[in-house]
Symmetry: C2
Subunit: 217 residues, 2 copies
């Protein structure tokens, strides 16, 4: 019974995701779904992407249980940011993104970055109609997260390791982490990043630009 | 329709939680539900509690999507640790805890610590039948989390601020954080902790001992 309900929710979501994907395809817009634990640096990572966006025309969709502090931080950079407050829901759904897309001028955009709700579990299960999925692991979280959240690590197209400036102060073995991730998902590049210092921001932007280029041509 | 389903799930859970609470009451056992983001230091915080447990007879229930690395770490300290793997579920339920309690000799215990799934959202909604709820915020996550996960901060009986050893390297304003938490939940003490260095481990253990004493008499 419970499984049936869940199956129906995921089927409904998949249909909405397919419609989002079709709409974005019609306008040659790339959409990246950015997922991470609370406090791993999602908003800072988006801000670094904006600073290095070059000619890419960009908008942001912010997902949070409550508050609009993240979208205000993005708008301060003169980038369109839509805030979705999910209420109690621990993940964004394709229907929520569909509503948000209605507020954007898609013909004026190359790239939409979605900041999902801070959670390593359910966001991995909900297709939003995105072009690519990215997760951020923070050095402060420890190197054992691939053991505990394997679906998230398997489902993404790139893994950002943020807060590498904290490496000297945390028990985080980068080689061990790379091996664990590589076993779950050999095709995803692992990009080291320090949003604080800006290290790795160029590599992250190149990945975004390359991914967008596959869509915008 | 979706709301009804959710309501039924929460009602079923509340009934199972009440049964757990009754069972624990019969044996004068205190149960603490420990919640936090992935990588905030839940297992390390439990290890510090074990090291400073004094005469308290303790067992641990570990909740994770996958893997048993945390329960193995606890068992290495000669403490009984039961691992619950939730599969896809982003939170523990009272029914899962009920199953685990069946494996414990309750008359031989004073305190059970539950490590919930790493998630600041859904665990706050699911009563497990616990005596008290504790959350851990990590300094590395930033001081803005009360804005984004207000329910979690409202629902707990104590807030641990872990990784205070990282304060010099992170943008975390402890006064600001204390004010935000105090507005959401004035009755919860805020305990500063460094599981790495052991700072604050005494205060955390005193809180646990005092909380257990209310039950064990």
């Amino acid at each position: 019974m419970k499984i049936e309900v869940r199956k129906n929710i995921l089927q409904t979501n998949a249909a909405a995701a397919a419609r989002n994907r079709e709409l974005l395809g019609q306008h040659d817009v790339c959409m990246v779904n950015l997922m991470a634990s609370p406090g791993a640096g999602k908003t800072s990572t988006i801000i670094r992407a904006i600073e290095n966006a070059g000619p890419l025309r960009l908008a942001v969709i912010e997902g949070d249980i409550a508050s609009e502090i993240d979208s205000l931080a993005i708008e301060a950079l003169d980038v369109t940011a839509l805030q979705i407050n999910t209420g109690g829901s621990c993940h964004l759904t394709a229907a929520m993104i569909s509503s948000a897309l209605g507020y954007l001028e898609l013909e004026e955009l190359d790239l939409i970055i979605i900041e999902n709700v801070g959670n390593l579990v359910c966001p991995a299960e909900f297709d939003l109609g995105e072009t690519a999925r990215v997760m951020i692991a923070s050095v402060a979280e420890g190197d054992d997260k691939p053991h505990k959240y394997p679906l998230m690590f398997r489902e993404v197209d790139a893994v950002l390791v943020n807060k590498i400036d904290l490496l000297p102060y945390c028990d985080f073995d980068l080689d061990e982490f790379r091996q664990l991730v590589g076993r779950l998902n050999p095709r995803a590049p692992i990009i080291e990043l320090s949003c604080k210092d800006g290290d790795g921001a160029g590599a992250w932007s190149r990945w975004l630009t390359d991914t967008a280029a596959k869509v915008t041509g």
